[in-house]
């Protein structure tokens, strides 16, 4: 009777099952600008094995403090950081700079971002500093989200989002919030017997009660039998981003730096 075993993560396939063919092709085109292609990843795997695996090994963990497959680097954060390290080398010549063509360089980055999985998804990761400016400015993220004690409580706190979400999951949330909104975070709307309307974000629910944070940022617990209306919306309050693909990459670069309390 085991159920704790989840040997394979195939949430993606589970999700795709739910999409119609049309939505699927739309979704794929919407993501194309933000990701490396499978050809990039495939080509990158060959370059990696030829040029990098001698020291980093096929596993990606051959060098102390670095695990390329898991995205653990000593200094690189963005894709350009990676390209820089690869072309100029580091550690006083312990890692030599490689003279590669641009497509070979992109391939290695893609292979690393895909987690060494030829069929994986390689999300473009941009500059964290620019990403933070977008987060607090044009991207309007901080009008709802809170980070490290600053910002409102309306949407989930993102202080540790970089360790609880992958780049691919962050990208999905930015491009298609409705396909990534965790069920527990769904917006709820309730009307009490005395006509009061309460809106907010769901925190917990059971057969008889629901707990939420309301639009006034108060923690509320409601008894369902006291309500005349109770709705859980599948539509997040967050809209799909209108930022460019480079800007989204920067934003992801920033979000990935958010590692909670250190």
């Amino acid at each position: 009777m085991p159920s704790f075993i989840s040997l394979s993560i195939f949430w993606l396939s589970a999700f795709l099952v739910l999409l119609t063919t049309t939505e699927q092709s739309l979704a794929q085109s919407a993501y194309a600008d933000h990701q490396y292609t499978s050809e990039d990843i495939e080509a990158g795997s060959r370059v990696y094995i030829a040029e990098c695996a001698l020291c980093h090994q096929r596993s990606g963990s051959g060098v102390d403090g670095v695990d390329l497959r898991l995205g653990q680097f000593r200094r690189a954060l963005s894709d350009n950081d990676l390209r820089e390290v690869i072309t100029t080398g580091v550690s006083n010549g312990r890692m030599p700079g490689l003279d590669l063509r641009q497509d070979e360089l992109d391939g290695i980055v893609a292979y690393i971002r895909a987690g060494f999985d030829p069929s994986g998804i390689a999300v473009k990761v941009g500059d964290a500093a620019r990403g933070q400016m977008l987060f607090e400015g044009e991207g309007q993220c901080s009008t709802c989200h809170r980070v490290h004690g600053r910002g409102p409580y309306l949407a989930p706190d993102l202080s540790d989002i970089g360790v609880v979400r992958t780049a691919a999951a962050l990208q999905r949330t930015l491009l298609e919030p409705s396909s990534a909104l965790l069920p527990i975070n769904r917006p709820v709307r309730a009307v009490t017997r005395d006509g009061q309307t309460i809106q907010g974000r769901r925190l917990n629910e059971d057969t008889y009660t629901v707990q939420l944070i309301d639009s006034e940022e108060r923690l509320r617990s409601l008894i369902k039998s006291d309500l005349v209306e109770y709705e859980v919306s599948e539509t997040p309050t967050m809209e799909p981003t209108t930022l460019s693909s480079d800007e989204v990459a920067d934003l992801i670069g920033y979000l990935l730096t958010l590692g909670g309390l250190r």
Partner: protein
């Protein structure tokens, strides 16, 4: 005279309770047979041999259930889901806690008389938690199966071990989590280990000596009927465990046992054939262990649809003929009615969404409709229901069961090599979620926050009419439930769920009459008993055994 009176008082205090308690520990087979006639006690795992979990008590009623109040609590000292079912005999409750403690408890106060602790071997291995579901009592002995697959007899009066036998080899993944069944002079248990490539069996021991009386292998050996439903040496490690207590029909002298999944769990291609008697019910002669009949619910199962539900025995008219029936809501999503004399299939109806099969043929054999790789299968891995005991009320004629609705799993099969004592699973699975990476339902509840929500599955208490398989009423819960059922002669239904609510419903209508928020998951069924003229209801929630009674 002045000194004599206190002396007499002391003597009567000493002798009185000692005499009555000592005698009351005697639970003859005749008493167990007639358990329904003494509803003040709860003598077996499911109350009576017919396993209806129906009590004749009627002091607590729909009109006074509002007056239930807390009488006492007993806190478990061990972490983990507490799946034990207490039994109550003449004011003494016998209950186990993880991993293999037995306690004798004053059923009126919750204070403990004695505790026996068996520390299982460190080599013991179980797939799904260090569970123990309770004891059986016969005459002056208490019997417990252990995680390292021993069966131990204790002195019911002081908890001292009287005998201890090895039932299976824990190094090969054999374990016992079920409460034993006592019949006549024997104590009968089955073994767990369906995820470790065991060869399952049911075994009976002489209750006095621990000497083995008979053993029935749930996978037939070479030369035995049914052996040809296995290929090559698959039968040697094909699973088919028995980890839930069976039922007994004294007129037929048959014991009934639900058999678990074949192994490896999720790769049915690796073990071609029907894989008897996995996912079947077997009817065994109580004296000899001889197989009288079997009925297989899920041949060549690739979904882990253990048939380890409690066989409920009920007598009623079937097509106008008084009949001895067996009622069974199976993990595979179908509700079955069988003739328990012959094993004949009488009816089968889905009680939850089912897509692994398009229906049952006239013999009850499922018509398989395997889903394409990556597609969800209903019901999911934990099934439409599972091991937690249902109830049947002869007064309402309804069958009550906890069901998991809108819960699906995506299976992935792969070739597994059997290695003794190691997990033997043949793949893996994930739970269908509305968005990628969302939290899912697990084997138990580990958080007070339900962040998986009803979108990945929710619980429903169903009141099924055995004649139609249709729900006469349903009571929905936001989270799924592993709670069993209790019905009473006053037409109350007591049950709980993972949310930690303990509910009393009107067994006829499903109307909620009373509830208490106990705060911890309820993963067993409530029981009821009577002491000193007062009816009590006990249920385990989280780490606490809670006993309610009417306000004085």
């Amino acid at each position: 005279m002045k000194t004599l009176q206190p002396m007499l008082l002391v003597l009567s205090v000493l002798v009185g309770p000692w005499a009555s308690d000592h005698l009351s520990a005697q639970v003859s087979f005749d008493r167990v047979l007639g358990a329904a006639d003494e509803p003040e006690n709860w003598l077996t795992y499911n109350g009576t041999y017919s396993s209806q979990r129906y009590s004749g008590l009627r002091q607590i009623t729909p009109s006074n259930v509002d007056n239930l109040e807390l009488k006492w609590m007993l806190q478990n000292q061990v972490f983990g889901a507490w799946q034990s079912n207490p039994i109550v005999i003449d004011g003494i409750m016998y209950v186990t806690e993880r991993p293999n403690d037995v306690m004798a408890v004053d059923a009126a106060s919750g204070r403990v008389f004695w505790l026996y602790r068996h520390t299982p071997s460190e080599d013991a291995r179980v797939c799904c938690g260090a569970n123990n579901r309770g004891v059986a009592v016969l005459d002056d002995k208490v019997f417990m199966g252990t995680l390292d697959a021993h069966l131990i007899a204790l002195d019911a009066t002081n908890g001292q071990p009287l005998w201890n036998v090895e039932v299976g080899d824990e190094n090969l993944g054999y374990s016992i989590t079920m409460a034993p069944l006592v019949v006549k002079d024997k104590v009968i248990v089955g073994v767990g280990g369906g995820e470790f490539g065991i060869r399952g069996f049911v075994v009976a021991y002489d209750a006095d000596t621990g000497e083995e009386a008979w053993r029935f292998y749930t996978i037939p050996g070479p030369g035995e009927p049914g052996h040809d439903t296995w290929s090559g040496d698959d039968w040697e490690h094909g699973g088919a465990p028995v980890w839930i207590t069976g039922s007994y029909d004294p007129e037929l002298n048959l014991t009934y046992w639900g058999v678990g999944n074949p192994g490896p769990d999720w790769n049915a291609d690796q073990r071609p054939g029907d894989n008897l008697y996995s996912d079947a019910v077997v009817a065994l002669d109580a004296d000899t262990g001889e197989l009288k009949w079997y009925f297989q619910f899920t041949p060549n199962d690739g979904y882990d649809y253990d048939s380890v539900q409690v066989p409920i025995l009920a007598d009623m008219d079937w097509n106008g003929v008084p009949s001895k029936l067996m009622l069974w809501a199976n993990r595979n999503g179908y509700f079955y009615v069988l003739d328990r004399v012959t094993g004949e299939f009488l009816s089968g109806t889905p009680f939850v969404k089912v897509n692994w099969s398009s229906g049952l043929d006239e013999n009850g054999r499922p018509i398989p409709t395997p889903q394409p790789p990556g597609s969800p299968t209903w019901p999911g891995n934990q099934g439409g229901t599972n091991w937690y005991p249902p109830s049947y009320s002869p007064r309402t004629g309804l069958f009550y069961v906890s069901a998991w609705e809108d819960y699906a799993t995506i299976y992935e099969k792969e070739q597994s090599q059997y290695q003794p004592g190691r997990m033997f699973l043949g793949g893996g699975f994930s739970v269908l979620t509305p968005v990628p990476g969302a939290p899912t339902i697990g084997i138990g509840r580990t958080s007070p926050i339900n962040n998986w929500t009803d979108e990945v599955g929710r619980g429903a208490i169903l009141a099924l009419d055995p004649h139609t398989g249709e729900a006469k009423w349903r009571f929905e819960q936001f989270d799924v439930s592993d709670s069993g059922m209790l019905t009473t002669a006053s037409d109350l239904l007591f049950t709980g769920g993972r949310e930690g609510y303990f509910h009393a419903l009107d067994a006829r209508t499903g109307e909620l009459l009373w509830k208490a928020s106990l705060g911890g998951q309820i993963v067993m069924a409530p029981i009821t008993f009577m002491m000193n003229g007062e009816q009590y209801v006990s249920v385990i929630s989280g780490h606490t055994l809670v006993t309610f009674g009417l306000r004085d």
